[in-house]
């Protein structure tokens, strides 16, 4: 496993209020890391910095050069990453957007565009023709469980389906790293369970390196490889815990003693 994204000593304050202090974070390729913390701790600020929408007061965000967006529009998602180029440099993407796919808290589908155009939006933004973009997006609809919804408007979809469209759109941004900000928080518990299951399956297939935010401990244990605890004021990463379990993890795992043990440890850390 090699590092693909590094955040070094990120600090940020709003006026007098320090929000983030000396955050260090790394993400390996294909890894799913969860940022866990109570609401309002500064998770979203951290994501805005990582995605380049906001500049930190100090610190830097580095992305492995060969994974920066321009060269790597993923044509074939099953293609393994080239592990030869271990030595290559990191690109400083502090305050530069467009290198990392970012899914914000709400699904943010455009109500005036049909589903396929919503999913294909990042492709169109990057300069692809509308037809080409639609064709490319359409080829993923089955895998994302969206067949038959292409010509519908977002209002016609249920919450779970809308989330899938948003996820497909995030994926089609074509970057190797994705940031997901509470991607499942808007869903009700039952829908959430089924989306988790589906999401883990898709993640296996598309091998996206993902950082995601949640304040739901169960969710974090269920889907991540590693959990970082964001805590304090100003917030820092106080603990890290590796969830060493085969994936996909089903309902059996949720009810096992191991799961409870993880949960107990995390609760103590929080």
């Amino acid at each position: 496993m090699q590092k693909i994204l590094c955040a070094n000593n990120i600090s940020k304050s709003y006026g007098d209020k320090e929000v983030l202090k000396d955050i260090n974070l790394t993400l390996d390729e294909g890894e799913l890391v969860c940022l866990l913390g109570v609401s309002g701790v500064g998770k979203t600020t951290l994501f805005n910095i990582l995605s380049g929408l906001m500049k930190p007061d100090s610190g830097e965000v580095l992305l492995k050069k060969s994974y920066s967006n321009d060269e790597r529009r993923k044509e074939d998602i099953d293609k393994e990453y080239d592990t030869e180029s271990f030595e290559d440099d990191f690109l400083d993407i502090t305050g530069v957007s467009g290198h990392i796919s970012y899914m914000l808290q709400k699904d943010l589908l455009l109500p005036h565009k049909i589903v396929i155009d919503n999913a294909a939006l990042p492709l169109v933004i990057s300069g692809m023709s509308k037809k080409e973009a639609r064709d490319k997006a359409a080829s993923y609809f089955e895998r994302f469980g969206l067949s038959g919804t292409e010509k519908k408007y977002p209002v016609q979809l249920s919450g779970g389906m809308r989330q899938r469209v948003a996820l497909l759109r995030t994926y089609l941004c074509g970057n190797s790293v994705a940031l997901l900000d509470e991607p499942f928080s808007a869903l009700d518990t039952l829908t959430r369970a089924s989306v988790h299951e589906w999401y883990l399956k898709v993640m296996e297939e598309i091998k996206l390196s993902t950082l995601f935010i949640t304040h739901d401990i169960d969710e974090a244990i269920l889907i991540s490889d590693r959990i970082c605890i964001l805590k304090g004021q100003p917030a820092g990463i106080t603990d890290e815990i590796v969830i060493d379990e085969p994936k996909p993890r089903g309902q059996d795992f949720v009810l096992s003693d191991k799961f409870l043990e993880y949960k107990r440890r995390i609760k103590l850390m929080l």
């Binding site: 957007s97 709400k106 005036h112 565009k113 933004i125 249920s158």
Partner: protein, 263 residues
């Protein structure tokens, strides 16, 4: 769900029936008041006489309506273009907004009747001063509607597009403009009714053709039945114009009229 649906249908039905009943009642009372000579007939013509006057003068009315409609539609199109450009500029450049917005509000405090004679003085008796007046009255609701639409866009949507490295133009085209369509059409509907009224007012004050000119003529000849006929005709034209806009809106924003997914 089916109950809710039928309730909706029922409500829609009542929305049409109730005002119709009230309208018919008013007409009947009016007709009775005239038949029993409660009001002198030279002051208030009966509805039947108004309808007769409308039928007798139908060709003439249509001819005048053509002029008025041309002025209104032409003025509105120019007003929309102007409104769109200035709203886009005000949205894009803060300084334009700071400079233009108070001026815009100020111009709205000037009554159109007051500037119409000036416009006639400047642009003579043809179609030009009418079109200019229509532009002036229709511009404001469109510019303000669009500007508010642009500004009400969810910031997170703009963040999302920025994270995709979208240009300002792309953000405008994919997010801001479509999001402002609802407000734009609301403004356009107001502009439509203003524009007919604006054209008629400008015609009152001088011209050769148009429903306003017809109005001043029948007033001078004291044909109040014709006066009422043209008044109703003008409001009918405004209503039709608004209905046309609503139709265009339905075509342009089909997603607004789709029933939401039942979960």
């Amino acid at each position: 769900m089916s109950k809710k649906y039928s309730d909706n249908k029922n409500k829609k039905y009542m929305d049409i029936v109730v005002p119709c009943i009230v309208l018919v009642a008013v007409l009947v009372i009016w007709q009775l008041a005239c038949t029993f000579s409660l009001v002198p007939s030279y002051m208030l013509p009966s509805p039947v006489r108004v309808v007769k006057a409308f039928i007798n003068d139908f060709d003439l009315l249509m001819q005048h309506a053509k002029t008025t409609l041309t002025e209104a539609v032409l003025g509105m199109v120019l007003g929309v273009l102007l409104g769109f450009v200035s709203a886009a500029l005000m949205d894009a450049f803060k300084v334009v907004r700071q400079g233009l917005y108070p001026l815009l509000v100020l111009t709205q405090t000037i009554p159109p009747v007051a500037i119409a004679p000036l416009l006639i003085l400047w642009f003579s008796y043809g179609i030009a001063p009418k079109v200019v007046l229509v532009v002036l009255v229709s511009y404001f609701p469109i510019a303000i509607g669009l500007l508010e639409g642009f500004e009400s866009v969810d910031c997170d949507l703009i963040f999302l597009l920025k994270s995709m490295n979208a240009s300002r133009w792309q953000i405008f085209w994919h997010v801001k403009f479509p999001s402002a369509l609802g407000e734009f059409f609301s403004g356009l509907k107001i502009a439509a009714s203003y524009s007919i009224v604006g054209a008629v007012i400008a015609e009152w004050l001088g011209g050769f053709n148009g429903l306003g000119v017809y109005m001043t003529r029948v007033k001078k000849s004291m044909s109040y039945d014709k006066m009422f006929a043209v008044i109703f005709f003008v409001s009918a034209i405004s209503l039709i114009l608004m209905a046309v806009i609503k139709l265009i809106q339905k075509k342009a924003m089909p997603y607004k009229y789709i029933r939401k997914q039942d979960e």
